[in-house]
Symmetry: C2
Subunit: 210 residues, 2 copies
């Protein structure tokens, strides 16, 4: 009822945004809220629940603000996907938590429902809808998490460095692709292309027996 819990969660989110999620300790959070560490336990079961709650606060941003009916199903899907990516860009620490904490909050459920209705409208046979929802959300969260945690980062996966280290015919694929691996990658347009491909995948499923 009281907004005290939300106040605490938002303070925790602020700490994570400013100093990384590792800086969110019960002591640091208590300091920020102006209270003793143990006082936090009145509002949050334990540290794991605190992290859950923090993610929950972010899920609010996933939901569309304008009425849904005005857009086509693939526009709604794209909007949701971009909203998810935006959240993890603004709160990179949250990306991998999205995997462990399923969408059980009301806001999370509403996001899932957006995908369900979009897929139904696209003509996907109903038995296939839950599977495709999982496929799509898995990819979107995975992309966001990869981006946020540096799996795509040039520094980490730098192609130049990669091929330098080991290849003497050992990595024929890398060798064949040569220059294409050195291109700087624009993750926004890549994300767009991926979403377009997935939309086509949805249409193909709908066509198969729709």
């Amino acid at each position: 009822m009281s907004g005290r819990r939300e106040e605490i969660l938002d303070a925790a989110v602020a700490i994570a945004d400013e100093h990384g999620v590792d800086a969110v300790s019960m002591r640091a959070l208590a300091d920020r809220v102006g209270v003793t560490p143990m006082a936090l336990y009145r509002h949050v079961k334990d540290k794991a629940a605190l992290l859950d709650g923090m993610v929950g606060r972010l899920l609010i941003a996933l939901l569309p603000t304008d009425p849904v009916e005005e857009h086509s199903w693939d526009e709604r899907l794209r909007a949701l996907a971009h909203a998810a990516r935006k959240v993890t860009q603004q709160h990179p620490w949250a990306a991998h938590l999205l995997f462990s904490r399923p969408a059980v909050t009301p806001d999370g459920l509403r996001a899932v429902d957006i995908i369900y209705t979009a897929l139904i409208e696209a003509g996907v046979p109903e038995p296939q809808v839950p599977r495709l929802e999982r496929l799509i959300s898995t990819f979107v969260i995975g992309f966001a998490a990869s981006e946020a945690s540096g799996r795509f980062a040039p520094g980490a996966g730098d192609p130049r460095g990669r091929r330098g280290r080991l290849d003497g015919g050992e990595l024929p694929g890398h060798e064949a692709l040569g220059p294409w691996l050195d291109l700087p990658l624009d993750l926004t347009t890549e994300f767009e292309a991926d979403l377009a491909d997935i939309a086509r995948l949805v249409e193909a499923v709908a066509r198969r027996e729709g």
Copy 2:
């Protein structure tokens, strides 16, 4: 050179398998190896590097054992995907680490190369290959991580519970799907269906301008 480091990493993996990754502390690991905690630092830079090394040990299992040439590109892709899922089923704690620790180890690179060559063979235009590699690996790792950390688990996302809690027209998608949401889900066949859809996606890209 010495196998001491591998011995330590394997001990750490064993602890994680038995008691969860949180149980892998420098002290517990040292105990297991029969040594003082600080001795570990001769073989491992710090705890983060220890986790990296543990993941590295697991990546070995991703590579195919039998010669590659005998299988078609989509069979090779499927084999790799299944190997990845198997690893995270046997070592659930490792799933989300795959996102943060990019494939910079030799074994990781070889796995990426398998995808590259498969896509080239499928007829994907070369500029598109790296993008599709990321799309595929992102989905596969995402699926594995979701499964391993319970995002798909009935307990957490139980549809019955979900719909019970909030819907009064609030979740039209859930309502429309009704019974389909109550089906027990077989993640193995779902994974198969997903991979088949993605293979079709690859073929579509190859067809577009191949």
